[in-house]
């Protein structure tokens, strides 16, 4: 029998949602600062209005739903899944007010794309967007990459036992440090140190490539935020093609790979345990899958002869591949070129890479390397069982921070999440086909949205059907949260309707 949720459940959920909204308000103050520096008055007003709306909602929720009760697992998961939707709705307000989005739905699409670190965009006339709005687009990627709840946990919530439930709800089931608040702060520390270094590197590269100093460092900061959080937004409409720069491509490729690495691994690297990189199942799997998918992509590209020089083929193929595998979505080709200049084989390589993703406890989406590694190990174990003597005791191990025995429980969990992703990819593909797009284009865009990549072959544009926009928003949201909190929210809604 399903029990209808009690009023107390709703109050707890409302209270913590209100807290997270108030946390989001503080992040909106940063674009105001940028707007004031660049003398952009109307954009400043856009953010003031958004802050006021968010504050009103946040204060009302925390007041009406005030409680001192802690979160249980169900409530924690629901808070997480709802907070992402509310962040999208509130984050879209300044975007829509700028007048660069055709509809509020388009602004919501870009806000979810930003928070979920996807990178698909429906913005119009991006090259004339204000610095404040552009900064906000990239900042939401930075916030979303770390996790909206982690922002609240790190800075606005004092230690409480419900914190870990929300942390897990955001698809982060690994604690780096014993305390989850300390873990969240460590993630921020790593990110901010890399932000400073990355901005400097990209800013200097921009200066050397002839950009104005202010633009060079502004672009550097924006590009870093989107690359490290494997987002994919850029300040200009041409994506990475705007820069015409090898140095930008190299630096962003390094940042994308850093963003795709497990934060726990960052911790080990920082503490001097560099051997872990070469032993960890995730990095080993990542390395192998990059080689395999690049071989597929390169084979496709060499068939066509679009890039006759090997170096050019490598530069174009590898950059697109790293961008897709890490879930970033930076492009050095135009979206239409995927369909016109690349053949199905090369696109298949990119689709595989998008579907696989980076490491768990990183900023990437998709199936992720640990699960691929576990599934591969399970397959190996089963093959051994068939091939070896029945008396033989087969034990399979993998190295992830420490030596771990392969258990059925972890294999089952990995397979379940993989299955969910495959269903999500298929759902988006079917919706694309339903709206009249060819199979390959539908699959490409669906994988890109669900795996939070952001590469586009041209399907995503403001003229696409409203149903498809909703589909991609759902895919980005569910893909980023890795299903569990989404399923719990759906179950909660069913309980409200059908519960007794």
């Amino acid at each position: 029998m399903i029990f209808r949720p009690r009023l107390q459940d709703l109050k707890i959920i409302g209270f913590y949602l209100g807290k997270i909204i108030l946390g989001l308000v503080f992040t909106m103050a940063l674009p105001i600062l940028i707007g004031l520096i660049f003398g952009e008055l109307n954009p400043v007003l856009d953010f003031l209005i958004s802050i006021e709306i968010a504050l009103i909602f946040g204060l009302i929720l925390t007041r009406l739903c005030f409680t001192e009760h802690d979160l249980n697992w169900m409530q924690g998961m629901i808070v997480v899944s709802l907070s992402w939707i509310i962040a999208m709705i509130l984050g879209a307000i300044p975007l829509y007010l700028s007048g660069h989005w055709v509809s509020y739905l388009d602004a919501c699409f870009d806000a979810m794309s930003g928070f979920a670190t996807t990178g698909l965009a429906l913005v119009q006339n991006l090259d004339h967007l204000s610095y404040a709005h552009n900064f906000w687009r990239h900042l939401i990627m930075f916030i979303g990459g770390q996790g909206i709840v982690i922002v609240a946990l790190s800075f606005f919530v004092r230690g409480f036992s419900g914190a870990f439930k929300m942390y897990v709800g955001e698809a982060r089931d690994e604690k780096i440090l014993p305390n989850v608040i300390h873990t969240a702060r460590f993630i921020w520390l790593v990110s901010i140190i890399y932000l400073i270094l990355g901005t400097l590197a990209l800013g200097i590269a921009g200066l050397l490539d002839g950009m104005k100093p202010l633009n060079a460092f502004f672009h550097g900061a924006c590009l870093f935020m989107a690359a490290f959080d494997t987002g994919g937004f850029t300040p200009q409409s041409q994506n990475m093609l705007y820069y015409h720069s090898l140095s930008f491509e190299i630096i962003t490729a390094v940042i994308m790979i850093l963003g795709a690495i497990n934060f726990r691994l960052h911790y080990y690297i920082w503490t001097g345990n560099r051997k872990e990189i070469f032993k960890n199942v995730e990095t080993v799997t990542f390395f192998i899958t990059i080689i395999i998918t690049f071989c597929i992509t390169a084979a496709g590209l060499s068939q066509l002869g679009v890039y006759p020089q090997a170096l050019t083929l490598f530069r174009k193929g590898f950059y697109q591949l790293v961008s897709s595998h890490t879930g970033t979505g930076y492009q050095t080709i135009y979206p239409a070129q995927f369909m016109n200049d690349w053949n199905p084989l090369s696109m298949t390589g990119i689709i595989y890479a998008m579907a696989l993703g980076g490491a768990v406890c990183s900023t990437t989406g998709a199936i992720k390397m640990l699960r691929i590694g576990i599934i591969f190990k399970a397959l190996k174990e089963d093959l051994k069982r068939i091939m070896f003597s029945e008396r033989a005791v087969i034990i399979e191990k993998f190295h992830h921070i420490k030596e771990v025995f392969l258990e059925d429980k972890s294999v089952r969990a990995a397979l379940l999440i993989t299955l969910c992703y495959l269903v999500l990819y298929a759902f988006g593909t079917l919706m694309g086909i339903f709206y009249g797009y060819p199979f390959l284009e539908s699959l490409f865009e669906s994988a890109s949205a669900a795996a939070n990549v952001g590469l586009s072959c041209g399907v995503t544009n403001t003229a696409m059907p409203v149903g498809l926009k909703f589909t991609y928003i759902f895919q980005m949201w569910a893909g980023r949260l890795e299903f569990m909190s989404v399923f719990i929210l759906l179950g909660f809604l069913v309980a409200i309707i059908k519960g007794k």
Partner: protein
């Protein structure tokens, strides 16, 4: 609509005749030729027919007309790239235009990025932006680049389209030979949006009211 062009390609390439002017001149000539009358209403023989008669050949006029039409047909296809093409057309048909001389126009956006003796600019025609590689001397006239506060110069560029540029890591770009400023850019006059200001003040009032109510209850 079919546009007939009679200017020499070399003239356009060297920047002697602007592409659009050449096209218009071709129109005028074609009109006169097909109607068989000049601007004063006098009967005018086709140029090729006159030429053949002058040389004393015995070709029939119909054959001469076929020859003239064939030449015009050839010129149409070889010089049609002199018309400004959209970014969508160039990107979608990059294979067709690869290595050909094309004319493209758009607004200069972002930075003019200097690279030794050359510069990169990006021209946005309203749909997409394309990278233009040009000599620094050609870029001297660019005064405004598009941004939030600026409308960039609108340029017409003529150059060769590279589908996968060997010089620039496989980028799709245009190596400019000539550029022409069609419209000068300007600083945009951005006034304070009063509706937004009023909404911000109203919401501030609501917020203060909520805070006041909360402080009373507390």
């Amino acid at each position: 609509m079919i546009k007939f062009v009679t200017v020499q390609r070399s003239e356009v390439n060297q920047g002697v005749i602007p592409a659009q002017a050449g096209i218009q001149r071709g129109y005028d000539r074609m009109d006169a030729r097909f109607h068989g009358h000049d601007k004063n209403g006098r009967r005018e023989l086709p140029e090729a027919e006159l030429l053949l008669k002058f040389r004393g050949h015995r070709f029939k006029p119909q054959i001469a007309q076929i020859v003239v039409l064939s030449i015009l047909y050839f010129l149409f296809f070889t010089l049609s790239y002199a018309q400004p093409l959209s970014s969508t057309e160039l990107i979608n048909n990059a294979k067709t235009y690869d290595g050909k001389i094309v004319v493209y126009e758009g607004e200069v956006i972002g930075d003019v990025m200097r690279r030794a003796d050359y510069v990169w600019i990006n021209l946005h025609d309203g749909k997409n932006a394309l990278g233009i590689w040009l000599h620094k001397d050609l870029a001297k006239g660019i005064l405004f680049t598009g941004s939030y506060k600026t409308k960039g110069d609108w340029l017409e560029v003529q150059g060769s389209l590279q589908r996968a540029c060997k010089q620039h890591g496989g980028d799709l770009d245009i190596h400019a030979q000539t550029i022409k400023k069609i419209r000068s850019g300007r600083l945009l006059q951005i006034n304070l949006n009063l509706a937004k200001r009023n909404l911000a003040i109203f919401l501030l009032g609501v917020l203060c009211l909520i805070l006041f109510c909360q402080s009373i209850k507390a």
